[in-house]
């Protein structure tokens, strides 16, 4: 961990702020996300975690501050541009493409498809089907890994809540993420599935995927995260390893006084 820390961060958030009317949801937050780690973003309700996450993913423009991703300023860029740069998010309530099959859900996320432009599509199947075959193969590998293979032809909307969450993570991976942003991946799912998802995330980290995760489930956070960022009242009150953060008095105060 200390070695990873020495390298420059993948994502660098500086003095980030976001106002809603007179409310400062995020008020000068600064933190860093390092490569090949799972960074947990935690804090009591209303701390500004979700707002910070929405800004990083491009869903909300910041009122002020800067976000450097791989050294490039990205604050305020739209969601699809950030996704193409490699910041891919999942949602607190999974959003499957309901009337696309499970396999199509993954295929749709594949970047740089030849048949995705108007001219490419009008050129006909022969123009894009070779690439499509490779994509199908890759999507099937991912489905296999997430044990969703037998649902391949099922509509996304027919999956259970837990399966949708798995599908969403698999779909995000299909989009070639360099930073996977997970919004409460363990919320509202049963313990067995939570364990499975935890295992998948650990595997992904082992393969070099960097993750930033907002999560309330402290057991999962402590088990999985290499680094924690603690927010309270729009500010970052602590950042460090799980052990370092736990020992901090202000973190305990923030959680107890909420």
């Amino acid at each position: 961990m200390t070695q990873a820390r020495a390298s420059s961060p993948l994502l660098m958030v500086r003095d980030l702020g976001r106002d809603f009317g007179g409310v400062r949801a995020v008020d000068g937050a600064s933190f860093a996300v390092y490569g090949n780690q799972i960074t947990g973003l935690i804090g009591p309700n209303g701390a500004g975690k979700s707002t910070a996450l929405a800004i990083i993913a491009g869903a909300l423009p910041p009122s002020r501050g800067s976000i450097l991703f791989e050294g490039m300023e990205i604050a305020g860029q739209p969601v699809h541009k950030l996704a193409r740069r490699g910041i891919v998010r999942t949602f607190q309530l999974p959003k499957a493409f309901e009337r696309l099959t499970v396999l199509e859900n993954l295929l749709a996320a594949s970047p740089r498809q030849r048949g995705e432009s108007l001219l490419g599509s009008l050129a006909g199947k022969r123009w894009w089907q070779a690439q499509e075959r490779d994509m199908v193969r890759r999507a099937r590998d991912l489905l296999d890994r997430f044990e969703l293979s037998h649902h391949e032809e099922e509509y996304g909307g027919n999956l259970s809540g837990g399966q949708k969450r798995l599908l969403e993570i698999a779909r995000a991976l299909m989009a070639d993420p360099r930073l996977l942003v997970l919004d409460e991946p363990f919320a509202g799912i049963n313990p067995q599935l939570a364990k499975r998802i935890g295992g998948y995330l650990e595997d992904l980290r082992g393969q070099g995927v960097t993750m930033l995760m907002v999560e309330h489930e402290m057991a999962a956070v402590e088990r999985l995260c290499d680094s924690l960022v603690v927010m309270a009242q729009g500010r970052v009150i602590a950042q460090g390893s799980v052990r370092e953060v736990r020992s901090r008095q202000e973190v305990r105060d923030a959680y107890l006084t909420g």
Binding site: A96, N105, L118, R140
Partner: protein, 333 residues
């Protein structure tokens, strides 16, 4: 077949062709992409007027028709221009209407645009001849072909069929390609589509322009056939006829939509067969009530339509990777 019957059947076929093209365009916007374009009929009207003024020739100052931009262009050009105008008109209307992500707001904006457009065409008599509309539009190639009136009817059926095939080639390729998949993904969740890199605003504008072009083409084809076009033929409820055709036929399914384009306007034909039973005005009202009721029944019991969107299946990929190897692959690199 008697001449009267031939005339009737060929007329129905031309209308079916026109309605199919328009319904395919709306299906691309609403059925495939989830864009609620309640101003759809305006694009058809724009195409119709374009084709009309480009065949009528310049308006004479003392004539009984007043309009802008008259010209006499040879056969396929007015139709091509109608397509282009429908597509180009989609750009400013799309810029106004597609800015907001929420589709309910979009629907309202488009409805208002449809009302404004009718008002504009009716009140500005110098634009497209006001409420009277344009008439005596020359039929394409009628003077060159020198056919009997029935012969010309069947020629127009063939023309409509050929244009349908051409349009089908376009919609089939778009909907069956990765582009179509991205459009359907956007329909199901614009937020999730953006989160995996889809430029939702651009995709919406794309289907807006494509569908606008198809609407324009259908309008041109219709105006050149019936030789007349007035605001009364394109009031905003006409959009709902196409919407009903898409919903009843099966949104997202091009074949189903073609069937819907026969059934829904055909409904009006059925009421025509019992005109003696009721007052003609009541019969027109009955037609609208019938279409509305028809649509509600489908939305309740068969919300996917007669021919639901096809489930896409993919051939097995060979050779499948062994699990261990698949798991060892770094995703996304």
């Amino acid at each position: 077949m008697s001449t009267a019957y031939q005339f009737y059947v060929s007329t129905l076929l031309v209308f079916w062709g026109v309605n199919t093209i328009a319904a395919w365009g709306l299906n691309l916007q609403f059925g495939i992409s989830g864009v609620m374009n309640f101003a759809y009929i305006v694009f058809q009207a724009a195409g119709a007027y374009t084709a009309a003024v480009l065949t009528l020739g310049p308006a004479s100052p003392n004539g009984y028709q007043h309009y802008v931009g008259g010209a006499t262009l040879p056969f396929p050009l007015p139709l091509i221009a109608a397509t282009a105008v429908g597509a180009l008109l989609a750009v400013p209307i799309g810029l106004i209407g597609l800015r907001r992500l929420r589709s309910d707001y979009q629907a309202m904006i488009f409805l208002v645009i449809a009302l404004i457009a009718t008002d504009l065409a009716e009140s500005q008599s110098g634009l497209v001849n006001g409420t009277s509309g344009l008439f005596q539009i020359p039929q394409p190639l009628a003077s060159q072909l020198n056919l009997s009136s029935i012969g010309y009817q069947w020629f127009y059926v063939g023309l409509a069929a050929a244009i349908c095939l051409l349009v089908y080639a376009v919609v089939h390729r778009v909907t069956g390609s990765p582009l179509g998949r991205s459009l359907r993904a956007m329909r199901d969740s614009p937020e999730a589509a953006a989160a995996v890199g889809k430029d939702v605003a651009r995709l919406r504008m794309l289907v807006f322009v494509l569908g606008g072009g198809m609407a324009g083409l259908s309008g041109g084809l219709l105006a050149e056939y019936i030789s007349a076009w007035a605001p009364g033929s394109w009031l905003y409820p006409e959009t709902f006829v196409y919407l009903a055709a898409v919903i009843i036929g099966g949104r997202g399914n091009n074949f189903g939509v073609m069937v819907g384009a026969l059934l829904v306007p055909g409904f009006g034909e059925v009421t025509r067969f019992f005109p003696h039973l009721v007052d003609p005005q009541i019969s027109a009202a009955l037609e609208w009530m019938g279409i509305g009721a028809f649509m509600l029944v489908f939305l309740w019991f068969w919300p996917r339509g007669i021919f639901p969107e096809r489930r896409r299946r993919f051939a097995p990929t060979e050779p499948p990777l062994p699990r261990a190897e698949a798991a060892a692959r770094v995703p996304g690199r």
